[in-house]
Amino acid sequence: MSPSSRAAKRGNGDGDAVSARGRGLRPREIRDATVIRFAGDSGDGIQLTGSQFAMESALAGSDIATLPDYPAEIRAPAGTTYGVSAFQVHFGSTDIKTAGDELDVLVAFNPAALKVNVQDLRIGGMVIADESSFTDRNLRKADYESSPLDDDTLAPYQLIKLDITRLTEEAVKAFGVSAKEARRSRNLWALGLMLWMYGRDRKATVEWLSQKFAKQPDVKNANIAALNAGHAFGETAEMPSDVVGYTIAPADVAPGLYRTVTGTEATAWGLLAGVRAAGLGRLVFGSYPITPASPLLHSMARLADYGVVTFQAEDEIAAICSAIGASYGGALGVTSSSGAGVALKTEALGLAVGAEIPLVIVNAQRAGPSTGMPTKTEQADLLQALHGRHGDAPLAVIAANSPSDCFEVAMEAVRLATRYMTPVIMLSDAYLANAAEPWAIPDMNELPVFPVEFRGDPEGFHPFLRNSETLARPWVRPGTPGLEHRLGGLERSHETGNISYDPENHARMTEMRAAKIAGIANDIPLQAVEIGREGSALAVVGWGSTYGPIYQGVRRARDEGSDVSHIHLRYLSPFPRNLGDLLKSFDRILVPEMNAGQLVHLLRSEYILPAEGLNKVRGQPFKIAEIVEAIRTRLGE
């Protein structure tokens, strides 16, 4: 893999150079990790500000995790609480696995942003507020009776009032941009200040602005000037005297080439890497836009150069049917959706089970039922993934646990789909789709391969002959002479592959379909214990994006002396072979899930275990503290 201009080695102390520069007049304090949230109107450029801050932090060698939180409306009425957009960055020299429980710093661009976010700020944390937007009108919109900047609302916190709007206007005056344009650079001024505060560089941001506004030099220069002015404001100690800059040492991560990756991007590349590992020429991606799955369609659409055909179908049904048609044609068909869109695909999923077609379905789960909360995360489609079809229609279900894990899980979905001739549902969620973290870029030439063999031999062929090891039927590319066959949803004779309504045969085929999926358990790793030990007093068992908070929560509880372990499932259908025995070794089992209790239900019924749920359905990830608290009460501490 050839490093490009923006590539850099991490874990080699590069960050020192950065933090040594830009020291203000006051000495910097040392911090291990910090959580910052930028919040403002959905038109304030919050998402860009946050991601740029994350990027600069990653470049400085920090481990990071980010959590964007944006409203469902593109441009909700300005200044309203439901139009608030936020972006949270957790960065530090330690192992960062979540976007952080509590905020250390909240940058609020208006009263509404302050109102909906301040409760997440830790006592003593810092609020940086743009004074000039705390007008009577904006205060009313946010339901404040008096300005929280002037009364004692913010007494528990360290408040820094700055007239960011005016400071930005002054900084960009020279570039002849309109007052409106000038106001729009506020976010960059604030970004400059935060980059100063944490001793981060501005180079990547300047480069990015130069590219983005290459055709509008005035806007480009104004934005860069705003960024620099915010930085200089901190540097020249115009800040209140109790505000200091911080130094965060680079994280101790394995050396290698890293980039930040969202779950969406990692899924796209994982699918592509999987198709290559399977030796297939093409991936046909049929999809229909829906939040939060659309970004995957966007990512795939950019991959035409790598053998990806995207088809923005007229609806979700057409999307999955086109993927089925493509798989019949000899490509890998993939479809993605969320919520209502996945529901629409269920009939065709049954067809793919019956016709035994390789297919990958990516479900970026969101809070339901129905339209629910489209931009909020949840993991309430597990039972739907396992059982949401008519008839006995088993298929494989796997789940990713972090943004970068989406790469491996997507590859694994392709492996299982092609090796077992089955649809595979890959579960991710709104959090994973949007969240980002550093990812060690794999060497494409060193990834495992699992080449597909198309059948070419007409001797003794019928379409439902089974491989004795995997029970998979043969995959035949149309165009192969002598192997012409018809597939579809009608039941087939296991002996001839012809349509059959024979009762014995249907029973046999139903068993065969179940046995094929169950057999995957022999082809996946045994379930490991993430941290802790087999047979401890308590096992905390999770799946999907709860990985970060459970991991950190269990670690914290263990540091405090609790005999607790973390088990995290990637394979949900089938379960790993040893899962039942492993779980039975623990005194108690706690299953945190962002749903009303789905995995816990499966574990209880499958293994007859007294597992207990810890359920959160607020559209938000678990906090580490919530897990720690639950562990403490279970262990009577």
Binding site: P3, V309, A318, C321, I441, G456, P478
Partner: protein
């Protein structure tokens, strides 16, 4: 449809096989005696033989219904999918394999009711394939329920006193869709015309929509009765660029010259009258085809790996 690419056998090697009608014969058709689907199957087999289409390079995709059993009765590749969803499955096959000859077989419930959304969009995508609407004006497989094309007042199990609504006109609807490139109508009881229409559809480069008037002896025996018995009810649209069968002149005396390039004329002729019009309403090969618009850049596997590695490195930190 067009022919590019090569089969596994013919690539670089001269393929000396010739195919007889029997080579296309699949399972024995199990439609009712007297069902119009039999003659459509025969005409299709004749087309396959006349055009010497390689069975392995030909795919029949269908939905669900009596008519959708079609693929089982042919010894080509076939996919018998979901009710209403034949077109998206066929689109997927073509996205991956533009070189294959793809035929889609749908019933009127299949195409014009549950699959109506796909019908409009497939017409607009204009993927190179032949779409056959086997229109018996009724739900056959599920035993006699009103379909969108059931004539007004015609009774069914769901509307025993006759349908309440005017029938949907599939030809008119298709002609109204942006990018429609081939629209024709024929009748299964006039085999020569049926065959010529299938042939024209097959040779058209783009999405060829053919509505085939099809008798159902069980549920709609009387619907086409008049048209079958009285040739004067039928008006043949003739043109050198469309279909003209002088042999039929003796029987079908009502003729109208219609140039298939003329979309306004086509739309006028598609309006319902006492006449049943057969022939090519519209044909335009200049319209863009989805698979041509979406053709992928040609890269070797090695180039793709290199490109992907570069893409991944782009924002490396």
């Amino acid at each position: 449809m067009t022919h590019y690419g090569c089969s596994l056998l013919s690539c670089g090697v001269i393929d000396e096989r010739t195919f007889e009608m029997d080579d296309y014969q699949g399972a024995v058709a199990r439609w009712c005696p007297g069902c119009g689907d039999h003659s459509i199957l025969t005409a299709v087999q004749r087309l396959l033989e006349e055009e010497q289409l390689k069975p392995e390079e030909t795919v029949f995709v269908s939905g669900i219904g009596c008519s959708s059993r079609f693929p089982h009765y042919l010894n080509t590749y076939g996919f018998h999918g979901l009710h209403g969803r034949a077109l998206p499955v066929a689109t997927g096959v073509k996205l991956e394999r533009p070189e294959l000859n793809v035929f889609v077989v749908m019933g009127d419930g299949d195409c014009c009711s549950i699959g109506a959304g796909h019908w409009i969009h497939a017409t607009r995508y204009n993927v190179d394939m032949v779409a056959l609407l086997l229109d018996n004006n009724m739900y056959g497989l599920t035993k006699g329920q009103t379909s969108p094309t059931t004539p007004l007042h015609f009774p069914s199990n769901t509307q025993p006193r006759g349908t309440y609504l005017e029938a949907l006109n599939p030809v008119q609807a298709t002609l109204g869709v942006t990018n429609a490139s081939f629209v024709a109508q024929t009748a299964e009881w006039i085999p020569a015309h049926l065959y010529e229409t299938l042939k024209a559809a097959y040779h058209h480069k783009g999405f060829s929509f053919v509505r085939i008037l099809q008798r159902c002896p069980v549920y709609t025996a009387s619907v086409y009765d008049e048209a079958v018995r009285k040739p004067d009810v039928i008006e043949m649209m003739v043109h050198d660029d469309g279909i003209y069968l002088p042999d039929l002149d003796q029987i079908y005396k009502q003729k109208i010259v219609h140039n298939p390039k003329d979309i306004d004329g086509a739309r006028r002729l598609a309006e319902v009258t006492e006449r049943v019009r057969l022939g090519v309403f519209y044909r335009n090969e200049a319209l863009p085809r989805y698979e041509d618009l979406r053709r992928l850049p040609a890269h070797t596997a090695e180039e793709r790996v290199r490109l992907l590695s570069e893409e991944l490195d782009r924002y490396a930190v």
